[in-house]
Point group: C2
Chain length 205, copies 2
Amino acid sequence: MTRLAGSAISRATTALLDTDLHLAENVIASDEQIDALRRELDEHTVDLLARQQPVATDLRMVVTAMKMGSDLERMGDLARHVAEVARLRYPDCAIHPVMRTTIQQMGQVAERIVAKAGSVIAGRDIETARALEVDDDEMDRLHRDIFNMLVDGKWQYGTEAAVDATLVGRYYERYADHAVSVARGLVYLVTGEFRAPARPDSEEA
Amino acid sequence: MTRLAGSAISRATTALLDTDLHLAENVIASDEQIDALRRELDEHTVDLLARQQPVATDLRMVVTAMKMGSDLERMGDLARHVAEVARLRYPDCAIHPVMRTTIQQMGQVAERIVAKAGSVIAGRDIETARALEVDDDEMDRLHRDIFNMLVDGKWQYGTEAAVDATLVGRYYERYADHAVSVARGLVYLVTGEFRAPARPDSEEA
């Protein structure tokens, strides 16, 4: 699921910035794969709980996996939403040139953060889980940059471009939040240490 | 949790439309109550799974309750985000007068839909669960109205107001989606009938 969610956001960013309708359609269609994996995971979880009746650490692991599945499915949805914006504005590019670098960086941070989430799960890797929070801070910073560009009173590229940038910015930011939530689930599993779920920066509102 | 999420969105709408900073702060602070209930629910769920080792319908019920908790917590977050927009623009009103009626209607639909979600849970009420989907369609329609007002080329009230309307519209629409997800969880529990999770209308992008 982390690989599919990573591939989806990477392709969605390309579709958006290169105005590639075919690629956008492809991202939209392939979201169903992540949804199907999530359903499988849920069924497998309920099956495990019923048959094996796990307790203690095993039980926590099963419950955490189910929550991670929910976050990863949502990351797939958010990548799909980015692709939907690309499709909606085709043959125009939804992203105005002045925003291009920032959106490109958001795409790069999203790819980095989901790759780390995959390593965290595969290696039960607490250090990477903590490093991933730094990427999330970077994402929040980029998200604020977008807002500042839109509301500093100098925006002159039309309301449609502003609406698109607002939504796309939020999709990337939420994508990163869900990756943080996946990583924190693993930290909780390994250390028992609880941290509040990732929250979008209040400044974004 | 449905009562708290309902009270939060109702107060957030009032705070937003009446430019009431005190009420906005109040909504923001009280979100912690819903978060705490969700943590309690999760702990109670894990405890139940460990001690009682439920199977069949009981197991499905426990797993569904945990998912409903996740949706309801998120609805609280979204109400908080609406209140954060009100606070950010205070003493100005974030919502331009031309949007006022539409946002007011979104608030009303949100209150209606969360009240129905509460009835669905309390009464295991399949009919109300289905009626709630009609409210969600109404919410999607209002959400489209907002987008149409913003991108029809006639918007002349500034970019900041457009950004705020974009975000607030999305918060209400997502709030309704999560309420639909709660109701569908109950339908699944009672009938075994699976429906894909609620999705934001692709037109919103």
